[in-house]
């Protein structure tokens, strides 16, 4: 099976700095939900920019759905890979929220007659339909980020990369966005590949697989269930583990069957004296 994204022997250094990535390899299967986690400065956001051709790597190869990333293939690849950045303020161009979502569609030469329905649907998916006529600068940070997400969703990309996209959302907004992602994933199944760059471990726990990056090296690449047993290693990397695992440690136990607070609470209730 073709991978959605294959990174082979990637080497990249910021100007006048030591190589951040050296012979870095990582692949993402079609339809997979991958979380890339690492502390600030670990290289995880740089990796996303390399995949999108926003930065040029020095050596190696990036392949997106079998297509090798190059100057020629760049625009074709960007049509398949949508990205939501951390800071929504850098992503706004439209005078209204709806205009902003329309901008991406216009860039892809979508017939204007199809636009209103697509815009409305995308805004609905992020709970911002009522804000279609608002000026983006009047929105709060969380609301802006949801509009940025809608702009990407409207283009129906095969891969969505979210770079700390929920960091600024309030709990409800964050849950709504994560719920959206789950629904989209359930609906599109293997037609949608998700790559979520984060250091929120509750978020990482939603993924099929978690890649932990530290100073450009792939330190762990495994399922959340096994990764979260490595609390001390994760802390040493500047990361955390889900609360259920923290509490287990305080209780003097360590059981991978109870990764979520719900599971742990249910189990503890059966042991109540």
């Amino acid at each position: 099976m073709t991978d959605a994204i294959t990174i082979k022997k990637l080497t990249y250094a910021y100007p006048d700095q030591e190589a951040l990535f050296k012979d870095f390899n990582l692949s993402v299967a079609v339809g997979e939900w991958l979380a890339i986690v690492g502390h600030n400065g670990s290289g995880k956001s740089t990796l996303a920019k390399l995949i999108l051709g926003l930065l040029d790597f020095d050596e190696g190869q990036v392949t997106v759905f079998g297509q090798v990333l190059s100057e020629q293939s760049l625009s074709a690849i960007r049509r398949q890979v949508g990205m939501v950045f951390q800071n929504p303020d850098n992503q706004f161009v439209g005078a209204t929220v709806a205009d902003d979502v329309a901008f991406g569609l216009e860039n892809h030469q979508l017939p204007s007659i199809e636009m209103p329905a697509k815009i409305e649907r995308a805004l609905k998916q992020v709970g911002m339909a009522d804000f279609a006529d608002r000026e983006p600068h009047t929105l709060s940070g969380g609301q802006k980020q949801r509009v940025a997400m809608a702009s990407v969703l409207a283009l129906e990309p095969k891969v969505i990369i979210l770079d700390e996209a929920t960091a600024m959302l309030d709990p409800e907004g964050k849950q709504a966005l994560l719920q959206n992602l789950k629904e989209l994933k359930a609906r599109y199944q293997d037609e949608l590949t998700l790559i979520m760059i984060t250091h929120d471990m509750e978020e990482a726990a939603m993924a099929d697989r978690v890649a932990v990056i530290d100073d450009g090296r792939l330190v762990f690449d495994e399922k959340p269930e096994t990764l979260f047993l490595k609390g001390d290693r994760l802390r040493a990397l500047g990361l955390a583990q889900p609360f259920a695992m923290d509490l287990q440690k305080s209780l003097g136990i360590m059981n991978p069957s109870y990764l979520t607070t719900q599971e742990l609470a249910t189990w503890l209730s059966t042991l109540k004296a």
């Binding site: 009047t138 940070g141 250091h199 003097g252 136990i253 360590m254 042991l271």
Partner: protein
């Protein structure tokens, strides 16, 4: 320096375009405490804190900031003195970095408020030390730093002005867990040094760990203004109505309480909660081995020497 918000209304725009954001706010920000301001997106938190250093003037009512009184009629040039006393760190403050070097960026504030270059330099160095950036960073371009380092430079820019009150809007957003931990420590250190801290945060774990008082905003009004313990002792249904999350420790404690566990106090840490849980559990002998091949961790079962709480 106490800040008193008295009967403040605030609206963006005028006439037909008017969007009311704050409605009849009565609030006192106590000195030398950490006051957290929480509330769902759009509840008016950011607008509220901009009243604290007169970045926005009230549409009606008044704000007493130390000796300064701000109303809708206050002239712009009267506000400079307030800005020196109340420092503001916005969301993603690193977006406002501009100088060619780190040290120049941090010196800009003190220079702008009239400090001598030598004093501005000393203030900048002290502030950079406070945020954990040593001399090797002084002459680097802030734009070549990592996100977390840029955040620290931006924080130092406000610290260097040494304001008595500091307002932070989501200061830890986007920082990794280790960076968040350092930031929490910095805010505690500032409180210990006598500063008044106002903190907007969506992260309830931070609020629980840091805040002395919490102000809950809902639809432009104050829905609660009380100690952090009093707030989180409210029933879960109240938080649901406010569209607020609970800190995980608190949520877990409430969940177990609903299942019949009895707790004598609100746990602020996982260790504290674990201790109260362990008192009420009959751990099966060799429990770890019996439970789906679980591994026992190194730490021993915590033993409680706390009086006052037993479920028997």
């Amino acid at each position: 320096m106490v800040i008193n918000i008295e009967g403040v209304d605030f609206a963006y725009g005028t006439g037909k375009q008017e969007v009311p954001v704050l409605k009849d706010i009565q609030l006192t920000i106590p000195e030398n405490q950490i006051t957290a301001i929480i509330g769902q997106t759009g509840s008016g938190k950011s607008t509220l804190v901009q009243q604290l250093n007169a970045l926005l003037k009230p549409t009606a009512g008044q704000v007493q900031i130390g000796q300064h009184l701000v109303t809708s009629q206050t002239k712009e040039k009267q506000l400079t003195a307030i800005r020196a006393e109340v420092g503001m760190v916005f969301q993603f403050p690193e977006a406002q970095l501009f100088a060619p070097t780190v040290i120049e960026d941090v010196m800009y504030g003190p220079l702008n408020f009239g400090a001598e270059p030598k004093d501005a330099r000393a203030a900048a160095e002290k502030a950079l030390t406070q945020v954990g950036l040593d001399a090797t960073f002084y002459d680097q371009s802030p734009f070549n730093l990592s996100g977390g380092q840029m955040r620290r430079v931006a924080l130092a820019g406000v610290l260097a002005m040494d304001p008595q009150t500091m307002v932070f809007d989501e200061p830890a957003a986007g920082l990794d867990p280790a960076g968040q931990e350092e930031l929490l420590q910095l805010l505690k250190d500032l409180r210990a040094a006598g500063k008044t801290i106002v903190l907007i945060s969506h992260q309830m774990e931070q609020v629980l760990a840091l805040a002395d008082r919490v102000v809950v905003m809902n639809d432009g009004q104050v829905a609660a203004d009380e100690t952090v313990t009093a707030l989180f002792e409210r029933p879960q249904s109240w938080f649901e109505a406010q569209h607020l999350d609970l800190p995980e420790t608190v949520a877990f404690q409430k969940q177990l309480a609903a299942a019949g566990f009895i707790f004598d106090h609100l746990a602020k840490t996982a260790d504290d909660l674990a201790e109260q849980i362990n008192d009420q559990i009959d751990w099966p002998k060799g429990n770890a081995e019996q439970k789906n091949g679980a591994l026992t961790s190194q730490s021993a079962q915590p033993t409680s020497d706390k009086g006052g709480f037993r479920h028997e």
